[in-house]
Amino acid sequence: MAFSKNSGAGHRGLQESMYSVISLVFILVACVELCDAAAAIDVYRLIEYDISGSAFGSRFAALNHHAASLHFPSGADLSRTVLIIPLRELNITFVRVFNSGNGGNKQVHEKEKLKNLLAELERLLIHANLPYPVYFAFENDEIDTVLTDIKKNDAIGQPATATTGGYKLVIPTPEPKKVASPTIANIQGWLSGLKADGDTNQLPTIAIVASYDTFGAAPALSVGSDSNGSGIVALLEIARLFSLLYSNPKTRGKYNLLFGLTSGGPYNYNGTQKWLRSFDQRLRESIDYAICLNSIGSWDNELWIHVSKPPENAYIKQIFEGFSNVAEELDIKVGLKHKKINISNPRVAWEHEQFSRLRVTAATLSEIPVAPELLESTGGLFDSRQFVNETVITRGVKLVAESLARHIYGHQGKNVQIFADGGSLAVNPAYVQSWLDLLSRTPRVAPFLSKNDPFVMALKKELADHTDEVNLQHDILEGMFTFYDSTSAILNIYQVASVTFDLLSLLALGSYLIVLFCFLVITTRGLDDLISLFRRPPSRKVKTA
């Protein structure tokens, strides 16, 4: 972060004007245990975006400066330097000095410290406006050696600048440009229910929805294993189980099933809104209720059902009872949370709110107890595979599938296990695990997914395997968000010599050549010749005179 002298409470305006002059930069090295130049390293840039014109994130991409570590001597001029900070050495208050003024570290459990640190850091960075490039990199041997060298130099008070040698970090990328018309792709799969002969009425529909895209501080690293990888995996598994049931007309239920994988989740569920708006009015009215899945991958034994209609509503009661009965059998605690929606407020915290705004009964099943803020819990840096538990997802799948099945087949209240373990309809943990692993390797920030992104196509194909009919709906992500490209780059680390070194060597070489010249003249032609070299002008004068 820019190290201005008048830090502290700092007026942001003054700091920002100083920032435009200073071009300081720093790199964070995430110490998650993953995985020409002296070194060339893959780095991932902090996201750059605008909300309704207000700029956020890191506004620059190219880098060409000397490196320093956190142990820089106090009073050092940090403009035109790159700070390399390993995550485990990052003190969050250092970062906070330049942003808002809250202090206070929380005492947290040792294991969770890193996760919380990352989460807090991410929150700070996303909401800050940084006029210099910020990059994330994974720690490896090369960076470690470079960093120890830099620390040694800093410790003896010789930070790398143009006059003293040291390491120079170069990222040669062009300036980031706006992503023109970012697309969102909604995938829907339709499982038709059993229509009795002669029945002209439309069958009721139950919708199961999950949003699949993420948003994080480093879009090239936002894999969102829990938010919402767990939801996607659960949806696919439920689709698979019901496609098995529905493949046989004898076991086909009298409900249509609509599976939706929506995009645009972090941006007030923009995609879900567009998807619903594209529906026929009749279809929308035929939806009995919709279950939205959001982050069900790392809970202990408590899940929440969030609704926007009041709990006294008959439909809500029915849904909640159905879930509670099954939950009791599975030894899961399910709570009901009610959050009223405010039509005038554009903020949509849960996916079911988009349904409710169009008067469709809906609820969201999630481990998150409180409605998240804008751009919170959207699958960022800290949301990686190791924090998600596939057994927990399997339990969640069982919960949702049983509750749905009991409603569809009319077995409410009865103790019937349709998806019993060990049976042919058991939840397949290998399926869950393999899809979870794949999702944890795929960054899915919507503006950076191309129109025919292979991952979206893969999801479509998977859903097509389990449903009768699959549709892909492309739309433009509209609204207040604008994004800028250039999400990853290659960092070159050079070891450069200082200017003084070059000057000194020039001096040394010059004197060497002069000495050599004099030596050769003296030995081959004699000392007189050497002296005569310097005495020629006067002798000429004598001649002409």
Binding site: D36, A37, A38, G165, K168, V170, Y494, Q495, V496, A497, V499, D502, S505, L506, L509, L513, L516, F517, C518, F519, L520, V521, T524, R525
Partner: protein
């Protein structure tokens, strides 16, 4: 900064040749033509050596010291000596004294050697941002090579051009000429066989070049005394 470094290394590598030419009486007697012809002869010998190496040598995977290969390389290295003989004796020089002839030939020889072996790596490598000591060491090596070439030329001219030499000195002359001629093999043995680092090898080269230069100077002046 990087062009600066390139410039520094370039004057270290090629400066001494220019200085030698201008400082000694070579420039007064205008022996540039001789040096240029010697450089061309070096080019020819280098091509012949290349062909021989390609034909007779096998490429080894590891960077170790294979005695037979090195022996072969040394033998091919004697083509160098043949080329020097050709340059000294067969080329028609203008009437310059033997004293200056060997200097001019040696200078042209060393200059061609430096340009062929060191200019391209210097241009490619020294201009980058990354700093290494390699090009400075290469320049020092070029300096040592200059001294060695001139001493070799001196000894060669003693062997082939001077007819009346003191009998006792002849074996010494041949021995020194042999040592200087096999310098490349010796350095490659040091680098590969004993595993010396580049700075150490360059230091060794500088030291031996000065020693050899001194010895050949003494031999030359000793041979010059009877005829003087």
């Amino acid at each position: 900064m990087t062009m600066f470094h390139f410039f520094n290394c370039a004057i270290l590598t090629f400066g001494p040749h220019a200085v030698y030419y201008s400082a000694t009486p070579l420039s007064e007697y205008d022996t540039l033509g001789t040096s240029v012809k010697a450089a061309l002869v070096y080019l020819g010998t280098a091509l012949v050596k290349l062909v021989c190496l390609a034909t007779f040598l096998q490429v080894s995977e590891n960077d170790g010291f294979d005695p037979y290969q090195e022996l072969l390389k040394a033998l091919i290295g004697f083509i160098d000596v043949a080329g020097l003989y050709f340059a000294l004796t067969q080329l028609t020089h203008r009437n310059i004294s033997q004293n200056h002839k060997f200097q001019a030939v040696g200078l042209g020889w060393a200059f061609a050697d430096s340009v062929l072996h060191r200019l391209a790596p210097l241009w490619m490598g020294a201009r980058g941002l990354e700093f290494t000591w390699e090009y400075i060491l290469q320049g020092l090596e070029a300096n040592a090579n200059l001294v060695l070439s001139i001493s070799l030329a001196a000894l060669a001219s003693l062997i082939w051009l001077r007819k009346n030499k003191p009998k006792t000195l002849i074996p010494i002359i041949y021995a020194c000429a042999g040592i200087v001629a096999t310098m490349p093999s010796i350095t490659s043995y040091l680098r590969r066989g004993l595993g010396w680092y580049f700075p150490k090898v360059v230091g060794f080269e500088l030291f031996t070049s000065l020693v050899m230069a001194f010895i050949s100077w003494q031999l030359f002046s000793a041979c010059q005394r009877p005829s003087a």
